[in-house]
């Protein structure tokens, strides 16, 4: 029981990390390798507001999210739209966007180093125990989990129910047909990309309450997020949530019952197995 709750809490963290990337890759068709840096930047903001003015990270997200939204919108317009226009095929866009976002990730690491320095940054927030089913868990993890549930739920509702959500899903499924029925694909893709960035930065602010970050840790998170998104199926919110929870549970199981030294190896193994058995991901549509 203890393992399951711990695993679910960790899975919630992973969902926060991966959700933004899923929006960016699934909907806007941009494999954003600078995603982890956006996460770290969100964490930096939370850290800075907390140490400078004791602003709660739970409130900081309301500043972080719109700023990240605007920043990612700009990134899309300035850097990625020219690539989308130039690309002759999906594959070409993929290669170009991978290279560009690599470059962007280095640029953001460099900027963060220049602004914040290379030091670790960590602070204590909500680090008291909460008791669930007879066991104690960190309140900050529980808070992050609850936020993850709220964010994922809201995203799912929005994509499933609203008109904007419908159009975004339409371009995810069939960008060319979407264009034919009068959807401004470029604008919606920019929206999805910006939204993804905002979700990622929010996740960063939340997880910084219990993880120690520094300017160069972003790539670790990008990697985890990629694995989760691919496992869950590109462009599918449910898949991402389930893959994140599965990964959290698996890692906790391995750490508790086998050997904590093998958690990352186990996560990787799971990824490979899913790739081999279902290359389109748990919930992905098989492309023909």
């Amino acid at each position: 029981m203890d393992i399951i709750v711990t695993g679910l809490l960790l899975g919630g963290t992973y969902a926060l990390i991966a959700m933004g990337l899923n929006l960016q890759y699934g909907m806007a068709r941009i494999m954003n390798l600078a995603n982890g840096e956006m996460l770290v930047a969100g964490g930096f903001a939370a850290f800075w507001f907390w140490t400078a003015a004791q602003v709660s990270p739970l409130l900081t997200v309301f500043i972080v999210a719109p700023v990240a939204f605007a920043a990612n919108w700009l990134i899309y317009i300035v850097f990625l739209r020219p690539l989308v226009k130039r690309a002759r095929s999906r594959g070409q866009l993929e290669v170009d966007s991978i290279l560009t976002t690599f470059g962007l990730s280095f640029v953001s690491v460099g900027l963060m180093l220049a602004v914040f320095g290379g030091d670790y940054f960590s602070y204590s927030y909500l680090s008291f125990p909460v008791h669930i089913l007879g066991d104690s868990y960190g309140a900050n993890r529980v808070a992050a989990f609850v936020s993850a549930v709220i964010i994922c739920g809201a995203l799912w509702l929005w994509l499933d129910r609203s008109r904007a959500g419908l159009t975004i899903r339409a371009i995810a499924v069939a960008p060319d047909s979407a264009r034919l029925v009068g959807i401004d694909v470029g604008k919606m893709a920019a929206l999805a990309f910006a939204l993804g960035g905002a979700v990622t930065a929010t996740g960063g602010a939340l997880i910084s309450t219990f993880l120690t970050l520094d300017a160069s840790t972003g790539v670790m998170f990008t990697l985890k997020a990629l694995i989760i998104v691919i496992m869950g199926g590109v462009g599918d919110i449910r898949g991402t949530i389930i893959a994140a929870l599965a990964l959290g549970l698996l890692e906790t199981f391995v750490a508790t019952l086998i050997d904590p030294g093998l958690t990352l190896a186990a996560a990787y193994l799971l990824f490979v197995v899913i790739l081999l058995v279902r290359p389109q991901g748990l919930f992905g549509r098989r492309t023909t």
Binding site: T6, L9, G118, P129, A215, P260, G261
Partner: protein
Amino acid sequence: MKRRTFAQIAALALATGFAAVPASAQDTLKVGAVAPKTGPLAGGAAVSYWPNVKLWVETVNARGGLNVDGKQMMLEVIEYDDQTNPGETIKAVQRLVEQDQADIILPPYSTGLNLASAPIYHRYGIPMITSTATTDKADELSAQFPNVFISLGGAQPIALGAVEVLTELRDRGDIGNKVAIVNVADAFGIELANVAKPAFADAGFELVYESSYPLGSQDLSPVMKAVKSADPDAFVAFSYPPDTFALTEQAQIEDLQVGAFYTAVATAFPSYAGRFGESIEGVLGIGGVNADDEAFQTYAARHEEVTGAKPDYWASAMVYSTFEVLEQSIEAVGLDNAAIIEHIKANAFDTVIGTLDFDENNNNPSFWTVGQWQDGVFKGVASTGREGAVDVVVKGPWK
């Protein structure tokens, strides 16, 4: 660009505070420093290494420069980022020697980068007084590279120090016999754990839990839950900076009640106290300083004044003290590297950590191994022969 900035600061300091002659080209010495500013070890170097380079150069320049053969020479720093990449470290050291014609070259940062560049320092005959490398092969290294001095000690004494402190607490009756050990699965953590485990067993401790976790683990709560359910009297973690924080926080959340709580790297960082505040009273950690010593206190105050940050209570002062050794040797024998090396071998030096004296293996035999947070200061409680150790106290409940 960076060089000029430092020169300007130095010149400004001279012009305003100290009525010495302004630095002219032939009166300056070029000081080369290579260490990570990016990459995995940048976080540690930003705390322990770079601020000391800045502090040392400013301090020397502020007192009128280095006295070389009777002439006052100002210092000018050339900094290179090796990106935590040994190949870059090697290249940068060679560049310092051959292109920049640096007069003084400081040692790099971390065990791996120091050892990777040791052959280069050796080939140029440059004294290399390492301050951030730990190795148990000091004798072999000094045989192959007689210019290399090791000041931070080896994994063996550091791990044994932890055993010794816990043994003392047990023998005083403060803690029981059960100890839980975890370590980060990375070179230094593994080395420490491998020394400590048999040593704890030999000392009569019962190992109720032992485990490792990968570097970069995002969730250490399973580890801490397992520790807690093993119900130890003492907890020892040979950990790295991110996990030192995570383990401490998890221990507080799980309310792990032990009489001795030990975490390794970063326990001595000011940011550790900054994050956990008073709750870490009694926490043990790797390193330590003679915190009550006047020399250290002056150093700490200067460090904060010049760099804007407090020094850590382990490597910072050690790094600075090796700069002082170099400084004193140069003032004694001039810029002749071979003479400097001989001078370092032959003499003892008075530094911010007290007396520093290398043995026949170029090894500093007396260094701090364990420190403890007491009244908001991380004080040395165990060492291999340093003065000023305070008594270790049993840890109370988390606050």
